[in-house]
């Protein structure tokens, strides 16, 4: 089961600083690099959201020093309409790609997937290193668009054509800004493809002795399913980005129809299709939502199990449900396009799988809840964030009932209702998954404990704050408040402005609460209490490493052998109410299905 070249490559511990910490082949270092990248990206994305929120609530209020970011974008420190859209596009792109895709999947997956399957590394360490550095370059290319003449693109993270394809005539940032955006995303796609390839092969090919597929922890299943989605979804987005770049630099017309007029000039394009971009984008875009959330489902389940002291009510049904989400995610993408002008019969065809996808989602929630019932729940920061995730997943999920129906979408499409929906279910929930994973795994990753007191303060402020920000978005949407507006000039939106101000205040306070997390993270990294090998009394292989943090090759001289299903809690063993996967001790299985 072991890949020879990986063994050879990994046996030698790197000596130089550069090979150890920068161009590292070690999946653990790469995982941490991804984590830091996501953390920096999240901070940038959060600051951008503050700027947007202040502008939305008090449109002409000067934000001190904003002109330093862009003299043209913020003359007199007041954002121009185009600069609002540019910041909005960057906020979304950074958050979706560099935080929600990167942290729960690439960061934690890289660090823990090989350890949890009992491998010394991934089979293609060079690809793994490339994957990170491509993602890093991608972020640099994206950020560089802040510094080009007319700034980043203003077309939104969805980059709908032809606005994105006709060049700077359609607005500031629509020339170089779009080309940089598409280049960044194209690079990101390659990085994700290489990463997914590694995740899939590690899961299938690098499992240690005794680690059958059903003995894999839920996290590994989640990352594996996500990798399969990533492999197919990013493989579609990448060529779409290439075609978009060609429309800019090679005079092609993939996404531009004939007879279009900008600034009284007939455009030289002909024969392209506006809707083609939307189909390609959403064929990636909807699976992307699940790429962001399925790892969270895995992490949260993993954290909950250790803190409930019992396995899930049904390990397999949970995995089947994640698989069903992945398969259905390709059949539902058209719900983003109900009023796009595609055939209205297609809207009905896309509506049914969208409604059906609530079934596996509900089953996942029901299994979580049924497992909490009768458990011996331990409350700590990690489990609080995991339970918070469940609450957010429910809240964000029920609004899906509305958006799945084309007739209701007529009213809610492109309103703040949609913004509230996806922020709760894919933004906040996924970030709660990242936090749960951080508080849970930090002791293993850095050998020190995080402060529980600070962690709990962070949790409370974030949990209540997130609801204060994102619940009102739904009310705005119901009232017909359109998204992607830099100011609300419509008569019927005037009464909504106080609600916008409430959201802005909540967003700033909740954002500030994240500084507590940042402090906790950095302080604990250097001065935290030394962590024991298995602080949560957990069962899976990451807690069986000979040292904490794990040594360079994860398990020392000998790879572990697996004797049990992943979550043997609620049993009687020599160590307590659990038995570790790598322990040969015989106990009565705790699994319902076993």
């Amino acid at each position: 089961m072991h890949h020879l070249s990986a063994r050879e490559a990994q046996h030698l511990k790197p000596a130089s600083f550069i090979r150890k910490h920068i161009f590292s082949l070690d999946h653990k270092v790469i995982g941490k690099q991804y984590y830091v990248l996501a953390l920096v990206a999240a901070l940038i994305g959060m600051v951008l959201s503050w700027l947007m929120r202040i502008h939305l609530a008090w449109t002409n209020y000067p934000i001190p020093s904003l002109h330093l970011l862009s003299a043209n974008g913020a003359p007199g420190n007041v954002m121009t309409p185009e600069y609002y859209l540019q910041l909005m596009t960057m906020h979304a792109t950074i958050m979706v790609f560099f935080v929600l895709t990167t942290a729960p999947f690439a960061a934690f997956g890289n660090y823990f997937l090989p350890i949890q399957v009992g491998a010394e590394d991934m089979p293609f360490p060079h690809f793994n290193m490339m994957s990170f550095w491509l993602t890093f370059s991608s972020l640099l290319v994206l950020m560089s668009s802040f510094f080009v003449a007319d700034g980043p693109t203003l077309g939104g993270w969805t980059q709908y054509a032809p606005l994105s394809a006709v060049g700077s005539a359609s607005g500031p940032g629509q020339g170089t800004g779009v080309v940089l955006w598409a280049t960044a995303i194209g690079l990101f796609c390659i990085g994700q493809l290489l990463g997914s390839l590694n995740f899939i092969t590690t899961t299938l090919d690098m499992r240690t002795k005794g680690m059958s597929m059903w003995r894999l922890p839920i996290t590994v299943w989640a990352w594996f399913i996500t990798s399969v989605m990533g492999l197919t979804a990013f493989a579609v987005l990448m060529p779409a980005c290439i075609l978009l770049i060609l429309d800019h630099v090679a005079g092609t017309s993939f996404f531009v129809a004939s007879g279009l007029v900008l600034n009284d000039q007939l455009l030289p394009h002909s024969g392209g299709s506006t809707l083609l971009w939307q189909h390609l984008f959403w064929f990636f875009g909807h699976p992307e939502v699940y790429i962001a959330i399925v790892p969270g489902v895995g992490i949260v389940s993993h954290v909950l199990i250790a803190n409930m002291r019992r396995p899930m009510l049904s390990h397999r049904v949970l995995i089947y449900s994640m698989g069903a989400l992945a398969v259905l995610s390709y059949m539902v993408y058209g719900h983003h396009m109900f009023v796009s002008g595609m055939n209205p019969v297609s809207s009905l065809a896309f509506s049914f799988p969208t409604l059906v996808i609530t079934i596996p989602s509900t089953i996942i929630v029901v299994i979580w809840m049924g497992s909490i019932y009768g458990s011996k729940l331990r409350i700590n920061t990690a489990s609080l964030f995991a339970l918070g995730f469940v609450s957010m997943f429910i809240s964000g999920g029920v609004s899906g009932f509305f958006l799945a129906q084309p007739s209701i979408d007529i009213m809610l499409h492109a309103t703040y209702f949609v913004v509230g929906h996806f922020h709760l279910v894919m933004g906040v929930a996924a970030i709660f998954g990242i936090f749960a994973g951080t508080y849970f795994w930090f002791p293993k990753m850095f050998g020190r404990m995080m402060s529980e007191t600070l962690g709990k303060i962070h949790f409370w402020l974030t949990f209540v704050g997130s609801y204060c920000i994102f619940m009102p978005f739904h009310y705005l949407g119901i009232a017909g408040n359109v998204r992607r507006y830099q100011a609300f000039v419509d008569d019927y939106t005037q009464p909504l402005i106080p609600l916008h101000r409430f959201i802005t205040v909540a967003a700033i306070l909740t954002g500030l609460a994240q500084l507590i997390f940042l402090y906790n993270l950095i302080h604990s990294r250097f001065w935290g209490k030394i962590a024991p090998d298995n602080p949560w009394e957990a069962t899976t292989l990451e807690w069986s490493t000979p040292t904490t943090p794990p040594p360079h090759n994860n398990f020392g001289d000998k790879l572990p052998e697996v004797f049990h299903d992943p979550y043997q809690y609620g049993v009687e063993s020599s160590v307590g109410d659990y038995v570790m996967q790598a322990s040969p001790e015989k106990v009565k299985s705790a699994h319902d299905e076993a």
Binding site: Y160, A257, L260, L355, M369, S375, S391, I410, Y475
Partner: protein, 267 residues
Amino acid sequence: MAKFFAVTIIVIAIVSAIPIVRHTWNPPANISTHGAMIDEQMSETMVEAGISFLVSQILLALFIWKFSSSRPGDKIKTFPGGAKAMVSAAFLLVGTEVLALGVFGVKAWATVYLTPPSANALPVQVQAGQFAFYFRYPGPDRTFGPLHPDLISEANANFFGLDTTHDQDSKDDIVTAEMAIPLNQEIHLLMHAKDVGHSFYVPALRVQQDFVPGLDLSLHFTATQIGKYEIVCTQLCGLGHYNMKAYLEVMSQQDFDSWLKKEAAMQ
């Protein structure tokens, strides 16, 4: 801590539901014949989603409350009926719920999008461009003249690219910046975009449809309430997107006829 958490979840769930139950924030009142169906579908979904939301959050809170204070000797209990019962119940309950919503929702959608406009519907053309809507009425000949994109000129106020010198049908076409329609008269709206994607959203009419450059799309609706309503763009179209709007005025047939005459005189 766990009990406090449970109470917080319940408080958040109830507080979140209050504005919905009290109808604190509403869309503009419906003024179209088909809108009631959409509103009804919306209310039904609200009831189902609202119940699912409250029940799930409250159960989650109760379970956290009850099972976070176990003592060392306590045994793990399995949910009555185990996974099979729970999963089957969830499958059936949610399956029926979404199927019902899906099937009933088809009717509202089909009325707007799958039924053709009646023969006596009044045709109105709308063109969306950065960052304005323009409307065209066919005039006495009831025929729209052809469009010539190369003739479009904001400077000469030829917004549609009409050739009134050569095209007979264009001569009596009436181009306006505001949209007026007669009360209780079905409108057949013919939509096209001049430059990039836009959208035609009239919350009061319960109508939203994107403009797709390169595609001619159409909509039909009937307004039942005299008044002035906003048409706004919902598809990001550039820096002036937020300000891209026009007014829709619903008037009596008599007022409409004189409005059209006045507009025709100004061409």
